[in-house]
């Protein structure tokens, strides 16, 4: 009889939030594979009910400290759709600037401190800094730019206070933003250099038949709006999200899994999906550096997501610079609208991928219903699926190595577990 083998990662590291992985093998056959998110539930959707709608951006920010903007902005757009508020171009531009700040801060953190150490056998960004002092220091400086932008425009980097339904509480003065320009000029060059560095990593070969899903917009690289499109030909207005996708609960995770309603199939969201679907909309410099390092679409290698992330950082710097250089203060800082009983939804692009919110509000402007679908819960099934494909390559290794290889694959998704329950313990059962 073949003995059973259990491999367990009790706590995934260098990911946001808490989760584990449990694998049970019988010989070389995977009997069970569970990505268990055991982050305690926090019930945001339940306690948003009854609260004033103008507070929702502040509350949902607290779902995740790494990508609060994505939560704030998706909520804001959903509320504005409910109340039929259209914001002027100036507000829209400042909001894109805010997304640029979050993408830079979040992507650079992931690339340098969480993900790059994997390629050099280091256990942390701090250890990596002993080998690559210049590169890590450059990364920290880039990350700081993202945070500074958020601090000026949002009031602070984690849980910004300046985002409002209809616009902002206060718009920045010209000089407040202008003083970032020299740093962002340096940062654009540095982001290109970081992309070159990352593209030369020993990146494993792997190709998956992904169904990638991201927003697509006719005029711009998607951040705050667009149609929901997929590499298999889906093209839908964002408000049809729930007609196509659905969340289901699994016993082993406090985060819900999203799947296609009809086929129950999983899909892939995040920077790789965005780049695949929107390559032509990347900024000129991002396209140029992609060509230089030989990154082409379609790209179905999850390990190359780190390059996609870097290209998005280059894009974010270029777009941010453009907005910073052309910024003129304007008034009013926000659009107001009368409260009415209404419903609205929105989808935007968080650093980790598509995020969807839907709210109902009453005549007093209080929330009566909230639904929030974070990117990590959409990727959860896909991560399990990838691991099933990847495991046979690893089975000959010792348990500890299997575990760490699995973690590396999961880390490509930059999973944010706080978000998805709102990561990772690995158990491998060898049978």
């Amino acid at each position: 009889m073949t003995p059973s083998r259990t491999i367990q990662v009790n706590a995934l590291t260098r990911v946001e939030g808490e989760g584990g992985l449990h694998i049970r093998l019988k010989g070389n056959v995977i009997e069970d594979l569970q990505l268990a998110i055991y982050e305690p539930p926090r019930f945001f959707e339940a306690f948003l009910r009854g609260r004033p709608l103008n507070e929702v951006p502040d509350v949902v920010a607290r779902i995740c400290g790494i990508c609060p903007i994505a939560y704030q902005m998706t909520a804001v757009h959903a509320m504005e759709n409910a109340l039929s508020i259209t914001v002027p171009h100036e507000i829209r531009q400042l909001r894109r600037l805010l997304y640029c700040g979050e993408w830079i801060e979040s992507h650079v953190l992931h690339v340098h401190l969480l993900h790059a150490p994997d390629y050099f056998g280091c256990t942390s960004g701090i250890q990596l800094a002993e080998r690559f002092p210049q590169e890590v220091t450059r990364g920290l400086r880039l990350k700081k730019h993202g945070n500074e932008l958020l601090e000026i425009l949002g009031g602070r980097a984690i849980h910004p206070i300046n985002v409002a339904v209809g616009g902002f509480y206060r718009v920045p003065r010209r000089e407040e933003l202008a003083r970032l320009i020299p740093d962002f000029q340096w940062g654009l060059e540095a982001a290109v250099a970081a992309t070159r560095w990352v593209a030369a990593f020993p990146i494993p070969e792997m190709s998956r038949p992904y169904d990638m899903v991201a927003l697509v917009h006719p005029d711009e690289y998607p951040m705050n709006e667009g149609n929901i499109c997929s590499t298999t030909g889906l093209n839908l207005p964002f408000d049809e999200y729930e007609n196509v996708f659905e969340e289901e609960q699994v016993q082993h995770s406090t985060a819900l899994h999203s799947v296609y309603k009809q086929t129950r199939a999983c899909y892939h969201v995040g920077p790789l999906a965005r780049v695949n679907l929107n390559f032509d909309m990347l900024s000129p410099m991002a396209q140029q550096v992609a060509a230089e390092v030989g990154f082409t679409v379609p790209c179905n290698n999850p390990f190359q997501s780190i390059i996609a992330r870097c290209l998005e950082v280059v894009h974010a710097y270029e777009e941010a610079l453009d907005i910073l250089q052309n910024y003129r203060p304007f008034a009013p800082a926000r659009q107001n609208a009368a409260y009415q009983k209404a419903e609205g939804c929105a989808a935007t692009e968080a650093p980790r991928g598509l995020i969807y919110h839907r709210y109902q509000v009453d005549e007093q402007g209080k929330v009566t219903f909230a639904k929030i679908v974070p990117p990590t819960s959409q990727n959860q099934r896909q991560m399990e699926d990838d691991l099933r494909e990847y495991l046979p390559r690893l089975i000959h290794l010792a348990d500890a190595q299997v575990a760490s290889e699995c973690e590396r694959l999961i880390r490509c998704y930059d999973p944010c577990i706080s978000c998805s329950t709102h990561f990772l313990k690995l158990t491998v059962d060898r049978g």
Partner: protein
């Protein structure tokens, strides 16, 4: 010179129910991160490092609140392993935004979010770390102020007692030179009740303080709330201001419950 220079202090960071924002504040010390990492041994910090060194730890930072039976046990073990335990953020110091469940029907919340609530293990209450174990220092805020965190780590490295502000946000507002929006424009601002630390950001961005740093020492909540009510501001708009990230801090819990007649679960209810 630090008397601890010969052997590096072991630093651990643990997470309970939270958004990771407070521990991220440590990684957001871009200019100081590598220096700090040179001064202490990062023994346990899952978000940042895959190296896990067993306890005991000299300095333990705890983020997040207690919301599951398992976590009630886990915090006891962490306490046993820690010389100095510092709670970071509103979740850890007062139960966080998830303490809103303390006013609601936990079973109903579970059902609202999960099709199979029976798969989920969670407590009916969300409580602060200090409700369960002894805590040496508390860093307030949602999120904490990273400069405050660095100050505390620096003081402990130097073998001195960290100093945390005991004054209110109004003082920071004055220092920043912001015109008081409560006085000048009648905006309900909870700065007078709130412990300093954020730098009085909200009034500087034309909005009232929503008290993410929790109650200030000797805050007179009743009198401020009475003042706003006499100006025609309704309980309906004051309750959500008081009942958010530090809702379960005793001062806010009591005054907000007085306003709406609903009282929360006792501190350690399950």
């Amino acid at each position: 010179m630090s008397h601890l220079a010969e052997s590096k202090l072991k630093l651990a960071v643990f997470k309970f129910a939270s958004c990771d924002g407070c521990q991220l504040s440590l990684l957001d010390c871009e200019d100081e991160l590598l220096t700090v990492a040179g001064l202490v041994e990062i023994a346990y910090f899952l978000e940042a490092s895959s190296t896990i060194v067993k306890g005991p730890y000299d300095i333990t930072l705890v983020e997040g609140s207690i919301t599951t039976p398992h976590d009630q046990q886990r915090i006891q073990e962490i306490r046993r392993q820690s010389k100095i335990l510092i709670t970071i953020g509103a979740c850890a110091t007062s139960g966080g935004i998830q303490a809103l469940r303390n006013w609601g029907d936990h079973q109903e919340f579970l059902k609202a979010v999960y099709a199979r609530p029976d798969y989920i293990s969670s407590l009916a209450s969300s409580t602060a770390i200090a409700d369960h174990v002894k805590v040496e220092y508390e860093l307030r805020g949602c999120p904490i102020n990273r400069h405050q965190l660095l100050d505390v780590i620096r003081s402990l490295l130097a073998g001195s007692k960290p100093r945390l502000p005991a004054y209110g946000v109004c003082v920071e507002c004055k220092l920043r030179g912001t015109v008081c929006i409560a006085v000048a424009r009648g905006v309900p601002c909870l700065g007078p009740l709130t412990q300093a630390g954020c730098g009085a950001i909200c009034p500087a961005y034309d909005r009232g303080c929503y008290t993410c740093f929790g109650p200030a020492y000797q805050a007179n909540a009743r009198s401020l709330i009475q003042h706003y009510r006499s100006q025609g501001i309704t309980g309906d708009s004051l309750i959500p201001l008081l009942r958010n990230y530090n809702a379960h801090a005793p001062e806010f819990r009591d005054i907000s419950s007085r306003l709406d007649g609903k009282f929360p679960l006792p501190m350690t209810g399950t």
